[in-house]
Structure formats: structure tokens, C-alpha cells
Symmetry: C2
Subunit: 216 residues, 2 copies
DNA sequence: TCGCACACAAATGGATCCATTCTCAAGATG
DNA sequence: CATCTTGAGAATGGATCCATTTGTGTGCGA
């Protein structure tokens, strides 16, 4: 068993299911059902739900159980503006510690992004591209916070891409190319600028589609 | 009973004790001892520790229990730089929704800050001053993240103030006055600038005292 | 026919008990 | 004499059982 503690194992499984889109916002997370499905008692499930709550992937109400949070347009807008401010810091912290191998990995990921057009594959690769650029960040807490923001908004990125994903590939690729070049040069100032613009443009486009979100 | 759920009640009590300095970084959090002290079984204590972990006020290692995290100078430095980027956003979001009564409350708090010189009282009032300025923030998540950053660094602010708190009161008061004036004018640009400077100056001074932190 | 109330069912919260893992110290062995 | 091993004690992790709360459905009354 790779993960010795059941609660972390269960949290990991549920996290993957939520990020993969199998559990969508609004879905009720029944303790009994999850415990039976994953072969444990309800106790580690309860702890797993707390862990997911920390990740922003579950929201529990006392005596009323847990759900995958359904965000409003305003919620997602704020998440993205937090990302615009925080992720450039994460990247700047990471840059000096990034190895040449990691930069080459980003290069290969970007090439694969440009050579295919499956939406779900893009989501995986895009996440990998950016998280690789943060891999050198020496602050565990900053990195965790960054990943949390990615996770909490993952569903809405997917919904947006499935809406009209293809026609913006050229813009994304140009942004990634500029970002990658700045990273390769270890130029934090340029990298921060391109990253901020990348996140901001995505936010603006994403919030043009109110139909993707909960009503207030 | 004001708090119907035991785990939240216990988490609240422990949070207060940590913020008040009764439980210092490095302190081991024994499930049995806490359960006995607060009159419950170990189960809600375990959930409370998870809740505190989300707040950055506890860190649990599988099979080895929980401790109040002891931060290094680099950790606190990063926390503060996250604050420099995030809190101006929180304040800008809050500003349009702040009531005149809340601005007056900030005024009264600042006056009390200037009229006394007890370190612990200052810590409480300073926290109240800033959190009041964020009270209008419509995004629960952004506000929670902000409070988390405050909580996680609270101990080191106290240690710093107890070191040589008094002689910097004039600077803090000037910064607060400028911030309060910008808030009263609902001037987000000025408010963000003064707030960023306030946090940054505190970080620079704080990190001049490596003796306050864990060695790496 | 509509509305309120009571009751039953289902899900979560908490307590107790058992299993597992880690720590630490004492003793044996090279 | 140092180091590795082993075992006892203690603390955490997990399972089962019971209590409490919530939500829903049915039946009675107006």
C-alpha cells in the first residue's frame, strides 16, 4: 500500500474523481456510500472530507453533510484574481531553483499541447505545464495554496473548454511560449508579467459565460 | 451551548489558546490530553485537529500526532509576501461595501491603540483594526485566506513586539492613519499602496531578528 | 382540497473498544 | 565500549455501536 493512512488514501481518490469531473459541483458526498464503495468504515471518510474541505473541494454543513461546492461567477472571479496576485510570486520563488531538466519537461509538455486537440488531455497537460513551472518553489505553504486555487476552479475550466475550447488554442500557445522563454532565461520580471496576463485573459473570457455558474 | 458541534467548539478553543500564546510553536497536541481537558472523547478532537490544520495552526504527521508548527525565518518571510499581495485585494474588495459605522469603529480602535502601550492589547487591537477594514469583503474564501495568513504568523508578531515593540509605535500609527484616511475616502488605490507598505515594512523589520525563528 | 402536525426513516455526530505503529530504553552481542 | 536488536509502553488510526438531528411523508382536521 503506497498510502498507509486510509483517510489520506480516500481523500486522494475523491480528489482525483472531482478533478476528473466524475463528481461535479453540487454533488452530495454521502459518508455511508463512500465508505461502502471504498471498503472502509465511515470514520476515515469523515476525516477525508475534512481534508477535502481544506482543499476547497468539499464544503460540509453541520448535521447536513458534505457537497462539492458549486461556485458563483463572482466566486470564480475572485479565485482567479487571487491567482493573478499569488502565482507570479510562486513562479518567482520557483525560478531560481528550477533545473534545466524541468525546463525541458515544460518544453515537451507544451509541444504535446500544440500537437493534439482533445479537451481533457489539454486540461491535464496545461495543469502539468504550470505546476512544473512552480516545482522549484521552496515554500511548501505557498505551493499548497497555489494548488488549492487550481483545484477549486478546475471544474469551471473544463466546462469553459468544452464550450468553445478549440478556437483559442493559438492565444494560449503564444502565451505559453512567451512564458516558457522567460522561464528558460530565468527572467522573473518577464515571467511574472506573462503569467499575470495569461491568468487575467482566461478570467475575462471565462466570466463572459455566466451560464456556467450557479445563480447567486 | 453556542456551538452545537463539538469538533468546531474544540477547534475554536484551541485556536484561541494558540493565538493567545498559551500554546506556542513546537507544542505537541496530544489527543488524549485535549479530550480529557475539554470533556469529550478523542474523536471530535481528531476532527478539530484537522480543522486547525486547515488554518495553518496545526500540522499532523501520520502516526506521530500533531504539533503547533514552528516556522523558519523563510516561512514567515513568504507568509508576509503572500500577505503583501493578497491583503490589498481583500481591502479593495471590502472598501465599496464598508459602512460608515465600520470606518468609525476603525477610528476608535486606532485611537485606543495610540492611547495605551501594552503589547498584548496592541496585538488584539491591531488585528481588530485590519480585520474590520476587511469586513466588507464579499468573498468568504478570500476573507478566510486572509485570516489564515494572520493566524499562522500571529505568534511571531507577538514575539517581535515583546522584543522591542514600543519604539516603533510612531511609525505604525502614521501608517494606520494614512490607511484609515484612504479607507474613509474609499480610495482603493491609496489604501492598497499604504497597506502594502505597512505589511512590507513589518516584514523587513521582523526578519531582521533571526533569533525568533527555528533554524532550518 | 389545502395545511399543519406528528412520526418514521435516513444521515450525521459522538463514545467506546480494538488494532497498529512509533518511541524509547534496556540488554545482548560483536 | 559502541551499536544493533528487541520488547514494553504509549499514542495514533480504524471499526462498531448508540445518540441526535434533519428531512420527508402520511394522516388528520379544518
Amino acid at each position: 500500500m503506497t498510502e498507509s493512512v486510509a483517510s489520506r488514501r480516500i481523500a486522494g481518490i475523491l480528489r482525483e474523481e472531482i478533478l476528473a469531473g466524475k463528481l461535479t459541483p453540487g454533488t452530495r458526498l454521502h459518508q455511508d456510500e463512500i465508505a461502502a464503495r471504498l471498503g472502509s468504515s465511515r470514520l476515515p471518510v469523515r476525516e477525508a472530507l475534512r481534508i477535502l474541505e481544506n482543499d476547497g473541494l468539499a464544503k460540509t454543513t453541520p448535521n447536513r453533510g458534505a457537497r462539492v461546492p458549486a461556485l458563483t461567477l463572482e466566486d470564480v472571479n475572485v479565485y482567479y484574481r487571487m491567482r493573478e496576485r499569488l502565482e507570479p510570486l510562486t513562479l518567482a520563488e520557483s525560478l531560481p531553483h528550477l533545473t534545466d531538466e524541468q525546463v525541458e519537461a515544460m518544453q515537451r509538455i507544451q509541444e504535446e499541447i500544440e500537437s493534439q486537440d482533445d479537451v481533457n488531455r489539454f486540461l491535464v497537460l496545461d495543469r502539468e505545464f504550470h505546476l512544473t513551472s512552480y516545482a522549484g518553489c521552496p515554500s511548501e505553504h505557498l505551493l499548497d495554496t497555489t494548488v488549492r486555487l487550481w483545484n477549486a476552479t478546475q471544474h469551471y475550466r473544463r466546462a469553459f473548454m468544452q464550450l468553445d475550447g478549440g478556437n483559442r488554442a493559438a492565444i494560449v500557445n503564444a502565451e505559453h511560449r512567451l512564458l516558457l522563454d522567460a522561464v528558460r532565461r530565468r527572467d522573473a520580471e518577464d515571467a511574472e508579467r506573462y503569467l499575470t496576463g495569461h491568468i487575467r485573459r482566461t478570467r475575462v473570457e471565462l466570466t463572459r459565460h455566466p451560464e456556467l455558474f450557479e445563480r447567486d
